[in-house]
């Protein structure tokens, strides 16, 4: 898309009036999405985008422009417009661009554009049939299948020249079950940074059956209780609790803006001794994994909390320069239209030693939260919530009635110290995270954990 010589010329132009950092982010993206709803393939959509984002950092200010083109003359024009914003006497040393290296190497076997559209359609047809065949209570099935093929080139004045090719496939299944006027929903997704071979590893019908099972399990749900109780959180998507309660507060932009409860806490104990948590973009094929982040930094395994002690924040280039702390590979952006900011990748609590059954058995009266609809946090206060989509009462160490309409609410630093037990069944779940108007792919994960007490927001007083 662009060679080193041209990239160098544009970068030189970008820094011609001074500035500490210049960058080109070139991206080509092919995308397809297919939607099944109400027993039919409702629409099929394809897109092509190509463009470039130019970034210039001068003192603490970032100047950004993007264009829907990668024509050399237009890149020059944009570089000129950007550099007109600053006027500094700092003379920059000549730039040398070197190919970046990353040890992340996952082969994509079935490239989306080489998959017959009929085969894509059949995936959704199978999902629909599998969900409806599983239970007579299934009333509606909605399924989305989307794929993305991206090529990016990142060149910056620190000498980075990184080329990346990304393939992602995403299947989401939502079902509605109705029994005696009780309406319940179930949702499950399968998403990987891989090609269509993901459906050899897990059949679309299995994803459909899992979504259906959630809705069916919840059909006889009673109102969730209110007040404070112990909660056991299931593996996989339960990791959204760490994502909200802690993860966002460890993103370095919140630290710099003094908008995080974890500022100045590196080296301090912030969680119970049994908690070790990581952000790891090297996990092969995971939804939040990559070869390079969106600033050209290689993927990285970053220990955030070790035995309860805070070890690291998550940084991008700008925060790394500002905090004089090494890059962690967390500079991410939605597309060439967006300024990169510190973001999580695959973020999870590491395995502990306990058997999940024993953790549930240890609770006399409480809640087992198995699946979640998502969450939200205010990093400045640490207050967070997350919604339970499949949950049960625990009575005398055993699961009893399913519960509906519950949210958990707590404060990050408090909850981290209330993690009393960690299981040995680490699992992951893909999702999308929104911040500053940018939506990116990431994964949450955890084994079964127990929180000694948290507020449950139901209606069953």
């Amino acid at each position: 898309m662009i060679d080193k010589k041209i990239a160098k010329k544009v970068l030189n132009e970008l820094l011609a009036s001074g500035g500490q950092f210049g960058e080109l982010f070139i991206q080509k993206r092919l995308s397809n999405s297919l939607r099944l709803d109400d027993n039919k393939i409702e629409n099929a959509l394809s897109g092509f985008e190509i463009g470039c984002g130019l970034r210039l950092i001068y003192e603490d200010s970032t100047y950004y422009a993007y264009l829907d083109s990668i024509e050399e003359s237009k890149l020059f024009e944009s570089a000129k417009i950007l550099r007109a914003a600053i006027n500094s006497s700092i003379i920059n040393k000549p730039i040398n661009l070197n190919d970046s290296y990353s040890s992340y190497d996952v082969k994509v076997l079935k490239i989306p554009n080489e998959v017959d559209p009929e085969d894509k359609k059949n995936i959704l047809i199978k999902v629909n049939e599998a969900a409806r065949n599983k239970s007579k209570y299934i009333y509606q099935v909605t399924a989305n299948l989307s794929d993305v093929q991206e090529e990016t080139i990142i060149a910056n004045t620190d000498g980075i020249f990184s080329k990346n090719h990304v393939v992602k496939v995403f299947l989401a299944v939502s079902v509605i079950a109705i029994k005696n006027k009780e309406i319940r929903t179930g949702y499950k997704s399968l998403a990987k940074t891989k090609g269509f071979e993901i459906f050899n590893e897990k059949k679309p019908e299995v994803v459909a059956a899992e979504a259906t099972q959630i809705a069916i399990n919840m059909l006889d749900a009673v109102n969730a209780p209110v007040g404070v109780l112990p909660v056991v959180i299931g593996p996989g998507f339960g990791g959204v609790i760490f994502h909200e309660a802690c993860g966002h507060g460890l993103e370095a932009d919140a630290i710099i803006k003094n908008a995080s409860v974890f500022k100045d806490k590196i080296g301090f104990k912030i969680a119970s001794d049994i908690v070790t948590a990581l952000d790891d973009s090297t996990l092969p094929g995971h939804w939040g994994s990559f070869k390079f982040d969106d600033e050209g930094t290689p993927s990285n395994k970053n220990v955030l909390i070790e035995d309860g002690v805070l070890r690291s924040y998550m940084l991008d280039i700008k925060s790394s320069k500002k905090l004089k702390s090494p890059l962690t590979g967390n500079g991410r952006r939605q597309s060439f239209r967006d300024i990169p900011i510190p973001r999580m990748t695959n973020t999870f609590i590491a395995n502990g030693s306990e058997e999940p059954e024993n953790i549930i058995n240890s609770v006399k009266k409480g809640i087992y939260a198995k699946e979640f609809s998502g969450g939200q946090v205010d990093p400045a206060t640490g207050d967070f919530v997350f919604g339970i989509s499949e949950g049960y009462l625990i009575e005398n160490g055993k699961l009893s009635n399913p519960i509906k309409g519950a949210t958990l609410i707590g404060n990050g630093p408090e909850i981290l110290n209330k993690i009393e037990a960690i299981g040995n069944d680490l699992d992951f779940s893909p999702g999308f995270c929104g911040k500053n108007g940018q939506s990116i792919t990431n994964e949450v994960g955890q084994p079964t954990i127990k929180i000694s007490s948290i507020t449950i927001g139901g209606t069953g007083l």
Partner: protein
């Protein structure tokens, strides 16, 4: 100092003409009908932090979305490249996509006799303001920096501003289709968002506010500074409370977010697919009070106003609830045909990247019986004044109707504010919520989200509050 020079409006000229040119590239023997949607946009975004520009972003962009119908099947494709071969690829992709979608007799472009409303020739002048262009980048930066200064001067307990963003947009949309429709409109808008952090002893709290206008010169920084600061300051020292049932008074901005959930299940699409609690409820009294709800696509001060919708159907003013009784759903041309009615002009698309679906425009709740906030306070003996919520997207399920969200605000005792409250939840379900609305405020305010949703403050009886 020169920042970005706005180099004319070249980007926006001739979108209709471009669409016509594109239509000539379509091989008419391969399709039955086509629609070309073009949107061009000029965007500025700016953030300040501690007296400096934190970031400044600028762009001119354009995208093309092509929808085709062949044998009653739909195909869609988009491109950001204006190169002829890329546009040809885009057309080809749309045709290929149509081969795998499901054929339905009611698929097809809208026809003029399917429009419920006649064209509003006035609305264009309200959604575009020439003064927008008189506000250059230096003025925008100054506005943001001044706002930061004003906020910090309000109270010494204000410890920081973690988010202060100004953004604006000038866009033009053009649609042409093979039924002979040709239309375009242009639009200016600017938006200011502020989030303030306050600290006192060991407590931290945050508060946000926002402002929007067609013309940035009208943005009142004193107003937004005061609102965000007050919200943050009144919450300092907030505590948890015991779980209970109590009346809640939901501030207008929060009420508008709840109303957004209700709005999402009033589209004919969700009703026809059985995803709406309002299915088979036309003519039923849903609200116990005399509440009216409108979706007004041509409201002068509405940020979702435009002359026609995402597939070229005229927009108008639709009364969705009258005196608490459900009158109609919101339709695009496909769902209207399915229900044998006319399109209300509610086809929407997030951008050229998506095909049209049904959505709301300026959607708001009013009542002829409305009260001052002070008078509503007096009606509440023991209750909770909700000034912010958290977790609405994960805590509200529009299909089942269950709602459980985190909330913070002030406790009301005998009509007076007692103390700030945090880390509690409020939970209900949509239909009970509608029934339990007891008093409606006179402070209608709009919240820009998916559509432009407006609601006054609402006093709701007997809601489950979970705390300690």
């Amino acid at each position: 100092m020169v920042y970005f020079s706005r180099n004319s409006n070249n980007n926006h000229d001739n979108n209709i003409e471009l669409a016509r040119k594109i239509s000539l590239l379509i091989d008419k023997s391969k399709i039955d009908e086509y629609e070309i949607y073009i949107s061009s946009s000029t965007d500025n975004e700016l953030e300040v932090f501690e007296g400096k520009v934190e970031s400044l972003s600028y762009s001119d962009s354009k995208g093309i979305g092509i929808r085709i119908f062949k044998d009653k099947k739909i195909g869609y494709s988009y491109t950001t490249s204006l190169e002829e071969n890329k546009i040809k690829d885009c057309i080809e992709k749309a045709i290929l996509n149509s081969k795998i979608t499901y054929p339905e007799n009611i698929n097809g472009l809208p026809l003029e006799n399917e429009f419920r409303y006649s064209k509003d020739n006035e609305i264009q002048k309200y959604i575009y303001d020439e003064n927008f262009f008189k506000f250059d980048i230096e003025k925008k930066i100054k506005l943001a920096l001044d706002l930061e200064k004003v906020v910090k001067g309000i109270d010494k307990r204000i410890s920081g501003v973690d988010s202060l963003n100004y953004s604006d947009n000038y866009s033009e949309v053009a649609i042409i289709n093979s039924n002979g429709f040709e239309g375009n409109y242009k639009n200016t808008s600017c938006f200011l968002f502020l989030n303030v952090i306050s600290k006192d002893k060991n407590d931290t709290s945050t508060g946000f506010s926002f402002l929007y206008d067609r013309n940035p010169q009208k943005l009142n920084i004193e107003q937004i500074a005061q609102e965000a600061s007050n919200k943050s300051l009144v919450l300092l020292g907030a505590k948890k409370i015991k779980s209970t049932y109590a009346d809640i008074l939901i501030e207008n901005i929060v009420a508008a977010q709840f109303l957004g959930i209700i709005a999402s299940i009033l589209t004919a699409d969700s009703v026809q697919k059985g995803k709406s609690l309002f299915k088979d409820k036309i003519g039923e009294k849903i609200f116990s009070k005399n509440i009216d709800i409108f979706d007004n696509g041509v409201m002068k001060e509405g940020f979702s106003s435009k002359p026609f919708d995402a597939e070229g159907v005229n927009k108008g003013n639709t009364c969705v609830f009258k005196d608490g009784v459900l009158q109609t759903y919101l339709y695009d041309s496909y769902t209207a045909r399915k229900d044998k009615t006319l399109s209300t002009g509610n086809a929407v698309r997030a951008s050229y990247k998506s095909n049209p679906t049904v959505g709301v425009s300026n959607f708001y709740l009013t009542s002829s019986e409305n009260y001052n906030l002070e008078d509503i306070f007096k009606k509440i003996d023991n209750g909770f004044y909700v000034i912010d919520i958290i977790g609405l997207h994960s805590g509200a399920n529009p299909i089942t109707g269950d709602i459980s969200v985190g909330a913070k605000g002030l406790w009301i005792k005998k009509g007076n504010i007692e103390f700030p409250v945090k880390e509690i939840t409020i939970a209900t379900d949509i239909l009970s919520f509608c029934k339990k609305i007891e008093t409606i405020g006179n402070d209608l305010r709009f919240f820009p989200s998916a559509g432009f949703i407006g609601c006054p403050s609402l006093h709701v009886k007997d809601i489950a509050i979970s705390g300690i």
